[in-house]
Symmetry: C2
Subunit: 359 residues, 2 copies
């Protein structure tokens, strides 16, 4: 698996006229080598490659890294990799860096170590492009993470009652996740109740659940290295008519987004479809974020599902569809599923009902 990925990257390098790619983004390194630690550099060239790390990860690198030799240095992995390159390549070379992930100061250190023989250039997101389309093994892992989170949602509902703090709900959720064998949560759990539901990113706070109002719950787990992401908004106490109409508008926009997903369609079209639906029902101006994003080894990865995104959807892409509407200081609703693009359209991975639940 891993070696096929490396070969895929080598083909991309050749097309870009790059002699080497200097990979520093850890999820990309994990994708290509299997290494899960937090310090390492992967250098890939035509017919040669190396993974460098420092003493802390010596054992782990030797256990995990597949397909490339491991060099453990006494200095930072970046400098060990630069030395390897200098020794390996006597002539001139063009090397791509991951400009979105490399810091200005690491860039300067790298340039000064490598000297003028190396032309260092910002590479396109070659590995992110590879990662965008998941293989069958990845989709199986993602499916497990999604189903796991859906079960957690059942437990979450059992925890909620007026007066219990948002953080307590998050604590129960995360405990169950850990007990079930998750590596961790994919992002800070959002439990935003009452007027806090109007915060699109309302991390669980000390606020107690009110007797009546919406609760936005947005959470995900990391299982087998892969992330899940789901949002359900439910209502504590009986929702009045306006609340039901508001919820339904977001719900319908989410269905419109899903409906738009199929191969060959630009990602922006999915965003447009969801946004159009919310505009039609009069809540368009309260939809203040984009419709979705890719999910995989990272919780946010390519493609973005947003206005202006020309990336065409392809079978195997896994994205979220998560429109929301937020009326400041009053209330908010968001509904989010993960879907995988198929030959015909898409399969919704999240099994949880989207009917408005009232507790």
């Amino acid at each position: 698996m891993v070696s096929a990925r490396l070969e895929g990257l080598r083909s991309s390098l050749a097309r870009q006229d790059l002699d080497f790619l200097f990979v520093t983004h850890l999820p990309n390194i994990r994708y290509l080598t299997g290494f899960t630690g937090s310090a390492g550099v992967l250098v890939v060239g035509d017919g040669q490659a190396v993974f460098t790390t420092d003493g802390r990860y010596k054992e782990q690198a030797r256990d995990q890294v597949q397909g490339v030799p491991v060099v453990v240095g006494r200095q930072a992995a970046l400098l060990t990799a630069a030395e390897w390159l200098s020794a390996r390549r006597r002539g001139k070379a063009t090397m791509g860096i991951e400009a979105v992930h490399m810091s200005v100061s690491d860039h300067e250190r790298l340039c000064s170590r490598l000297g003028k023989r190396f032309t260092i250039t910002a590479a396109p997101p070659l590995i992110e492009q590879q990662r965008m389309v998941k293989d069958a093994a990845e989709i199986a892992l993602i499916r497990q993470a999604v189903l796991f989170a859906a079960k957690l949602f059942e437990r979450l509902l059992a925890t909620v009652r007026p007066g219990i703090r948002e953080t307590r709900i998050a604590a129960e959720l995360e405990y169950a996740a850990r007990q079930g064998g998750c590596e961790g949560m994919a992002f800070d759990t959002i439990i935003a109740s009452g007027s806090r539901s109007a915060l699109p990113h309302g991390r669980a706070s000390d606020q107690p659940i009110p007797r009546r109002g919406f609760v936005v719950s947005d959470f995900g787990v990391i299982l087998g290295g892969y992330c899940s992401d789901m949002t359900r908004t439910f209502h504590v106490g009986r929702p009045d008519k306006q609340a039901r109409i508001f919820y339904q508008a977001v719900h319908d926009a989410q269905l419109a987004g899903i409906e738009a997903v199929r191969p060959g369609v630009p990602a922006s079209e999915v965003d447009r479809a969801a946004r159009h639906a919310l505009r039609s029902s009069g809540w368009g101006r309260y939809f203040t974020h984009s419709t979705g994003h890719g999910v995989g080894l990272e919780i946010h990865e390519a493609p973005r599902v947003a206005s202006g995104q020309t990336e065409l959807l392809r079978p195997g892409m896994v994205i979220t569809i998560e429109p929301g509407a937020y009326v400041p200081r009053q209330w908010g609703v968001r509904v989010e599923d993960m879907v995988v693009v198929t030959e015909q359209g898409c399969e919704v991975l999240t099994p949880t009902t989207k009917k408005l639940i009232s507790l």
Copy 2:
């Protein structure tokens, strides 16, 4: 508090001949403004400043940001900030960026938006230098986080028994942390038992606790925004003589490190003292990482306590002292406290015993 910090930064800017500092590192933004969200830019100049964010954080920014005006843009915070600067400054200006934190591609976007009127330069870590010395309010918060974690350790010990998985122990610990009101863990919990104790960064795994052997537990919480960090290594089953000697060597090295902490001493001296002690007992070559690091809003911050670090310790600095020794595939021990530098020497914040506990 926050406005005094801004004034402190302005003095630093003047000394560096910088007209503006472009602050993108979120903990630095939190330190200077109180904003805890995950998208924002702070621009500080002489007598003027702005915080920019996007629609997702509109409410939160208005609730939290102190001392500077907030501008909510329709584009990324970086571009909104660049526009604000362009409009504000008609003549030439020199602006510092946080080169360690800004990506090469953000740097390119910023340069192209601002044009040639702005000379953009890598600023020294001015805010990190301010943050290195904690004020009384910060030390009080850190103290709370440390004591909280120490109580968790008692619960952890009650959980451990042969056969229970490392991840289960981590789950119980993290649940208790959340129930107690923590924002989260300061880093991935390390529970490394048996031969896994030889991994300096052995995140809790599926491995069951063996009937006999060391268990390294290294964890921290975030409470009130501030991090704690502690490591205790204990022994399951009765330790034999060699295990006791090994543990004592690391324990003594840790005490030697603490002994070396006082104002005016370079951070490297603390590392040297701990390393010297481990060398004397013959385990020096198994001490493969540095002795410690600063802790505050971030789990790893300045100063580094390592060889070559010339930073002089000052009262109010909060650092870890955490030597360890790791014999590959056999065993490892690490002992870690947090200490605050005082006028006379240091105060050990971590109250937990360092005697070898056997369960």
